[in-house]
Structure formats: structure tokens, C-alpha cells
Symmetry: C2
Subunit: 132 residues, 2 copies
């Protein structure tokens, strides 16, 4: 699968390496070149410098042929906007968007966006561990 | 169950409300009083202002009678230190510690600390969603 990951922070870089390990083709976008260090020197994927709400940047990352797009910058708004561009403009089949705010995550989920809310995920995981 | 939650950020406040909803007795510690707003005006648990590596603050939150302690401040170091104090000084039966850095989360887990790593959790959840 060809996957474009927007945001090379902790989760973005970890995910990119995870996907590479699973045999996927991965391109990572970040507006800060220093962020790519998290991928390690031997990262076999593509890295693209720029902001993910810029269509040219997305094209350079290969979004036109991507089967999946994942938005995991630190900004909920950026993630939502980029996810919508990926879905509406480039018709990427699978689009996943990280949204920290639980209420907004729920709202966008109800609007059909595939969202991942680390706040809910983390709290539920801890509650599970406490129950175990 | 009596639970002390250190850190009233997004995950701490969400968890505190989740646990209250499950019928647990919850005390929340944060060093910033503005953080308690996240709990809402009707939060029935206890709130304690102070730093969670201070034993007096932990005592005020009822750690001596707590069955569980959860460290979810934004600092990995603070969480590890507070978790160790809860376990070693106050013998809290269940101690869970959030560590963003995957390598340190693994290290402390191997040392017997119950850790939750949002980086790994988030990346794995997205990889799961992509596979689904």
C-alpha cells in the first residue's frame, strides 16, 4: 500500500517506520526538516518538506497514487483540513485524521471522517489497565 | 476503587471523568489551577494543587489509602518519578505511568513499571485502522 503520512512527530515517525516494516511504501511530510531525524538515517521512504494543506506539497509526496493518507501533525485544524483535501481533491480511499479534542473527533467522525483521538484512546487504555 | 490521577491535561481530565462515571473515587493533582477547568464545574472528585513528586501533595490527594495511582503529566520524567514514589514510598497496589518516549517506556516496563506509551498506542491504532 502507498501511504502518505503528514507530520513527522513522535507518532508520525513511529507509524512511518511501522508501515515500512510491514512492507508498505511511505512518504512523510513535515514543515520542519529537523523532524525527519526521527526517522533515522536509513529510512527507505520518501520525505517531503512543506505544509500538508498545500496541494503541490501533497502531490510531491505522491498523493495522487496513494491508497492512504494519515494526518498526524500537532494541530487538529491542520489535520482536519489536510484530511479533507486528501479525500475531496485527491480521492484518497483511506484517510485517517488525528484529533486531540474528543468533542471535535466525535463531530468529524459523525461527518464521515475516520478520526483517531489520542485523548480518548489514552484514557480508555489506562482505565483498561486499572481494571486488569 | 480510590484513584489518584496526577496531571489534569486532556488525558488526565478525560480519565478522571471516565473513572467517576464508573463509580470510582477520584482525586486529581495538577500544579496549574486553571487545568482543573477541564473537569467541569460539577466534578465530584477531589482536586489538589501542587506537584506530584511532593509527598505532602500526594498525601493531601489521599495516596495513603489509594488503590491506584496514574501519572499523566506532560513530562515523562515527572511521571516516572511520581510513579516510583507512589510505588516505593506509599505502596500503592496499581501504578500506571505515561511515557511518550517508546524506548524509555519499554525500559521502565522491563523494570516492572506499568507504562502506557501514547506514541506506540497511537501508531498501532492507526496501522490497525489502515488494515481494516
Amino acid at each position: 500500500m502507498r501511504v502518505v503520512v503528514l507530520g513527522c512527530g513522535r507518532v508520525g515517525s513511529h507509524l512511518a517506520k511501522l508501515l515500512i516494516g510491514q512492507g508498505h511504501e511511505v512518504a512523510v511530510i513535515d514543515r520542519d526538516s529537523a523532524a525527519f531525524k526521527r526517522l533515522g538515517a536509513d529510512f527507505p521512504g520518501r520525505v517531503v518538506l512543506g505544509t500538508g494543506i498545500d496541494e503541490d506539497v501533497l502531490r510531491r509526496a505522491g498523493i495522487e497514487k496513494a491508497e492512504a493518507f494519515v494526518a498526524v501533525t500537532n494541530g487538529d485544524n491542520t489535520n482536519v483540513m489536510a484530511a479533507q483535501v486528501a479525500r475531496e481533491v485527491f480521492s484518497v480511499p483511506r484517510v485517517i485524521c488525528r484529533i486531540y479534542d474528543p468533542l471535535r473527533a466525535e463531530l468529524y467522525r459523525s461527518l464521515g471522517l475516520d478520526t483517531m483521538c489520542p485523548t480518548v484512546l489514552g484514557a480508555e487504555r489506562i482505565a483498561e489497565l486499572l481494571g486488569g
